[in-house]
């Protein structure tokens, strides 16, 4: 895969991803899974799980993973640098303006408007992920419904939101239960 192409796609992602990590997930989903078709939904879902298990900013993790899969270490660098270039340029401009004027009255409205937009984006991505997880392969039919994923997801949600257990452990637990169930009970 052409390094310049990887760099440009991630440059675009880096420009569009405003509003935190979870908005960037939605942008990456759109650019990499739908537009460029570099990745299947299954791999994208796996990538999100891996991101949660590894440290570092989610966007850089995604970029490195995708770049690396596409064309090795140079690809990983092209993707990671692409996604941080817009951040570096805009942040530098903003901090210079801030040091000169020190007034941020407009900003509060922009921050919350972007938060509302980011929330819409993440809900939209979540809807896609839920469908893909509950109906493996993409056909929506009752015979294709993965009950075990549905039960585990509901149980995990209760555990994460009510008991405040670290999502990393919940995710590892889900993986373990699902694997054991399939290997020994659903044979």
């Amino acid at each position: 895969m052409n390094l310049a192409e990887i760099f440009l796609v991630f440059l675009k992602i880096g420009c569009l991803a405003i509003g935190g990590a979870y908005a960037s997930i939605s942008i990456i989903e759109n650019e990499v899974v739908h537009v460029s078709k570099w990745m299947s939904y299954e791999d994208f879902g796996n990538l999100l799980a891996i991101d949660e298990l590894t440290p570092g900013p989610i966007m850089i993790n995604c970029a490195t993973f995708i770049g690396m899969t596409m064309s090795g270490f140079p690809g990983a660098l092209a993707a990671s640098i692409g996604c941080i270039v817009p951040a570096c340029i805009v942040s530098t401009i903003l901090i210079l303006i801030y040091r000169k004027y020190r007034k941020l009255t407009v900003l509060d409205n922009i921050v919350f408007s972007l938060k509302a937009m980011a929330l819409a984006m993440i809900i939209s991505t979540l809807v896609n992920i839920i469908f893909r997880a509950l109906f493996p392969g993409g056909t929506i039919a009752l015979s294709n419904f993965d009950y075990l994923i549905a039960i585990l997801a509901v149980a995990s949600f209760v555990i994460i939101s009510k008991i405040k257990v670290n999502p990393v452990f919940v995710m590892l637990g889900c993986g373990t239960i699902y694997t054991l169930f399939h290997l020994f009970i659903l044979k």
Partner: protein
């Protein structure tokens, strides 16, 4: 600032970014560690500046941790501080993910690994749902119909149209500016938010 102090600052900026990026999981977690380090431990940045910088980080595109590194690095030690801080922030995730990807591509064909990864999707859904709810509570607390309009409008835009997110971004930013302008007129120039 003497030359020695300056070098020490640059080293601290690089080292702090590096360690934080190696241990914290998301942009906001990284931001909160950087906040305590630079405002409480070293006192290089005041709390007030920090609050402003956090707001700026959220309107700048790209990873929040990178935005924070650029701005805090600049505030503490100028352009070179910015550069070293960003470098410290990107090296750990790139190195770790390169190793993880090599490992992933080798083991993903394995049946047990595939099942395990699939099971973890349930956890991913739960985690994202938790994020959605906390973001929603954050917006609900502002008690602003305007924000609901942005939220629902953006969602419909994303689901029903094939237009680029760029267009959505421009519309949302324009709406925020119009909203600010209208509020200014109403309150006679006093600062107030949505």
């Amino acid at each position: 600032m003497s030359r020695k102090d300056k070098l020490k600052r640059l080293w601290t900026l690089f080292f702090t970014s590096f360690i934080t990026s190696l241990t914290a999981n998301s942009g906001y977690a990284i931001l909160s560690v950087l906040r305590t380090t630079y405002t409480k431990k070293h006192e290089w940045i005041t709390e007030e500046e920090m609050t402003d910088i956090i707001a700026l980080c959220q309107v700048s595109p790209g990873p929040i941790a990178i935005n924070a590194s650029v701005m805090l690095g600049y505030q503490c030690a100028g352009g070179l501080g910015s550069f070293l801080s960003v470098l410290g922030c990107v090296i750990p995730p790139i190195m770790i993910m390169v190793l993880v990807t090599i490992f992933y591509n080798v083991i993903v064909e394995n049946k047990i690994v595939a099942l395990f990864m699939r099971g973890m999707q349930a956890g991913v859904i739960a985690m994202l749902l938790d994020v959605v709810i906390s973001l929603f509570v954050n917006i609900k607390n502002r008690k602003s119909i305007y924000l609901y309009v942005i939220l629902i409008g953006s969602f419909l835009f994303l689901r029903l149209t094939d237009l680029s997110v760029f267009i959505l971004l421009v519309i949302v930013l324009a709406a925020a500016l119009v909203k600010t302008f209208i509020m200014r007129k109403k309150t006679g120039g006093n600062h107030e938010s949505c």
